[in-house]
Amino acid sequence: MTARPLLHPLTAALALLLAGLVAGWAGGPALLLVAGAAAGFANSGST
């Protein structure tokens, strides 16, 4: 139960946003990785 907040979809979306900000600061292909991950996560719906 204690790990549940970490598994919440909002946490995952915020983690991706944070990863995007870090990747934007660092530069390189990591930004594209984050963009793709956001699309993949959004495309999966509930399962």
Binding site: A12, A30, L31, G40, A42, G45, S46, T47
Partner: protein, 171 residues
């Protein structure tokens, strides 16, 4: 089993990146960058507004349900199913973001970079079943997702479109 599903996702997404990147070589060679960005914006802006909940319109999708027996698949079945899902064309598409990514590969992303997008897509697609399974085995993730969806979708859209724009436009 997740390893096989994940590998399938990666292979499926890489295939789409390869095909779209190859097809995209033509417009990327023939059209000047401002024209390509203008066309990309015609896809990305409405998609962003849709994900923000400001407009509603259907997106192209393969409107087929996933058969229930998929959950009983073994290794090669999981690999095949992952491959199909990795293409983003196996079933309904609840989001317009895959379409934005596809348009980006066709119009503004250099061929090698398309594979970074594909790897990210596979990872993001894999995250949902992993989180769902870790959450509980009673299927309650579906309700959690439904409650969070109104906040999650705009966040994902801003992340996706923002990251694409910064990656391609900022030197």
């Amino acid at each position: 089993m997740a390893r096989f599903f994940g590998t399938g996702l990666l292979l499926g997404a890489a295939l789409v990146a390869f095909v779209a990147g190859t097809l995209g070589a033509l417009p990327q060679a023939l059209l000047p960058a401002p024209a390509r960005w203008a066309v990309f914006a015609l896809v990305a802006v409405p998609a962003l507004l849709r994900e923000l909940g400001l407009v509603r319109f259907p997106v192209p999708q393969n409107a087929r349900l996933v058969p229930e027996d998929v959950q009983h698949l073994r290794r090669w079945g999981a690999l095949q199913f992952g491959f199909e899902m990795g293409t983003g064309m196996r079933t309904y598409s609840p989001s317009a973001l895959p379409h934005v990514v596809l348009a980006a590969v066709l119009l503004v992303v250099p061929f090698p970079a398309a594979f970074a997008l594909a790897a990210g897509f596979a990872l993001g697609r894999l995250a949902m079943p992993l989180l769902s399974n870790a959450w509980s085995d009673d299927g309650s993730w579906t309700q959690v997702w439904a409650r969070a969806e109104r906040a999650v979708r705009p966040l994902l859209a801003l992340t996706c479109v923002g990251a694409l724009a910064v990656a391609m436009l900022v030197p």
